[in-house]
Symmetry: C2
Subunit: 356 residues, 2 copies
Amino acid sequence: MRSKGRITIRDVATATGHAVSTVSNALSGKPHVNEETRRQVKEAAERLGYRPSAVARSLRLKLSSTIGVLVSDVSNPAIPEFIRGIDDVAVREGCTIFLCNTDELIERQISQMETLLDRQVDGMILISQHCDEPEIRKLLDGKTPFVLIQRRSARYRDDYVGSDNIQGTRDSVTYLRQLGHRRIGLITGPLSSSTAQERLEVFETTSAELGCEQDPELIFRGDYTVEAGYRGMHYFASLPQRPTAIIASNDVCALGVQDAASELRLSIPKDISLLGCDDIDLARLRQINLSTLRLPKREMGAAAAELLIRRIRSKRNITPREIIIPTQLILRESCAPLDTRSTAEVRKAAPQPSDS
Amino acid sequence: MRSKGRITIRDVATATGHAVSTVSNALSGKPHVNEETRRQVKEAAERLGYRPSAVARSLRLKLSSTIGVLVSDVSNPAIPEFIRGIDDVAVREGCTIFLCNTDELIERQISQMETLLDRQVDGMILISQHCDEPEIRKLLDGKTPFVLIQRRSARYRDDYVGSDNIQGTRDSVTYLRQLGHRRIGLITGPLSSSTAQERLEVFETTSAELGCEQDPELIFRGDYTVEAGYRGMHYFASLPQRPTAIIASNDVCALGVQDAASELRLSIPKDISLLGCDDIDLARLRQINLSTLRLPKREMGAAAAELLIRRIRSKRNITPREIIIPTQLILRESCAPLDTRSTAEVRKAAPQPSDS
DNA sequence: CGTTTTTCGGCAAACGATTTCTGTTTATTG
DNA sequence: CAATAAACAGAAATCGTTTGCCGAAAAACG
């Protein structure tokens, strides 16, 4: 009798001699059911090992208690920290997360999003560059709520959780300037990203304000990868006038800079200062020891998930909300004052002291 | 008319004037449907933007094209690489993955597994220590197939994908021995893990065979974390006779060793050689530069996913299969021959040259 | 032309829950 | 005693598919 397939609500109904509707009501804490009956039903459900089929109730309720998380690449160390935060609140709220890798490929992201929508996710969290493309928007404009992390749309106002790029970049540049650096290189993220774009702008204005050198050569366009940092460092080293400090778009990229610097026998921070962004777990290790702009990724993930869940549960009247989370400069040992260097080295780094 | 809710198969049925069954058959490539009709239906489906509801078909088919992946901790850099491999084949096979963090907490793993089962996942992949506990087994013995990664059960034979710990550990010890090391410290993983257990045993037998020192002080019990490595290094440094080389249970742990070594002003590899295990992406960076036993994690993840999917699709008659994947020693700069050291240092490291 | 066989499609029953509705029994209250 | 309410049964609709079965039309055959 109970040998065939899964135990359904019907099974516990017949077992207790009650009707399925009563069992349903009893189990889901509805009123108008005798406490004694409720107890009995619960006991029987427990005893039989009854677990309601999530897919059956999804179909009926049009709610799956499931959220889709689209990330560019799980293997990037910063991403799991966001996921962690998302997962923290997902578990607390009884949601399960679908994880999808997009590899930053737009077609792939589209197909992943379609799949998620087919699966009737209650909402989505996107940690990806793509959110403005019309094909993506077509999928997004439906009734499935979503939250963007670290990538704001230029054209639309959405729920968004991001870091305070303005203050953060300002702090970074100011810090390096205070150390005496005037020739600061920047390795950007992909400029299609709002965050990377914002940071670049603030970098330029703050640099100007504080009297840093304004030289287009000092901007290297990267894409948040180790390779970008590696190439960026090589590029900066090849310049006739090498920068005395580098700001990397993120820590992963800074890792690439360190790698290349080591290869070039350039010491950090003696020959060149390096400032990262993110504060990935590894940054604190002494062999990395990266001064960086901390971005509370786990908290951001959690904030995004909370925002999403609130949006899901409320009746979609609330206006889009943007949560901007402050960053914090974490000072370790990858930046040094400019004047600790030998004069010779400074000369080498900046042969013509005729500032333009 | 089409304003309300999602577009269902019924909508495309009425649009084409066919019955829903016909539409279903046409769309899913069943025979016995006129090619002209099929074309019409497909066209209409396309035009209306019809997408079959995955949850409805899950309910009907009792197949969700969904797999659950349970990991101990996404933030551990090794984990995403496994996930990557799983995701690669999942996408290829049209599956979506549910990701769950267990934090190595058994109750949490249980509840996550229950949720996955409620969601009717077609199968599960476990990258977790817990797989032998009766509560877990109760959930596993059902009809939902599963594959274990890097953790074999002592009591049961399951589908399993793991690395060749015997050969790998052998290679590691042999390599260090060839460099002249005889006093080798080992930081183990949690010994509840079959992998950690296996490695410990092979370490001991190989050490004995090759004439290394056999000293229980040389075994430090860790748990695959950075902290374990950090504490392990401090422990070894505090020994009257410090080992001249250390094998870490995994790279993350080795990172902790490096961190502590740096703190203690011990140079790797000059003062102490360090051999990791995993070969996480970061290990190759010059500032880390870790010699390590490469474990093809992405391939292992892929192998696990393939095994699982084959198990799902076949009619569960096949006997459990264990896939053991060979490892490869990747030589970087964290290990050095013993005799490159100054005699003084060797003395300091091993004051009493009276080998027991 | 009549009969058999294919081919095509429609009908309706699942899948497992929730929810609504009607109806019956019992207990409570004025 | 009548009226009301509470507790529950039972049936049915619903969510969106898939699929077994059956019938009609068309094609093939004698």
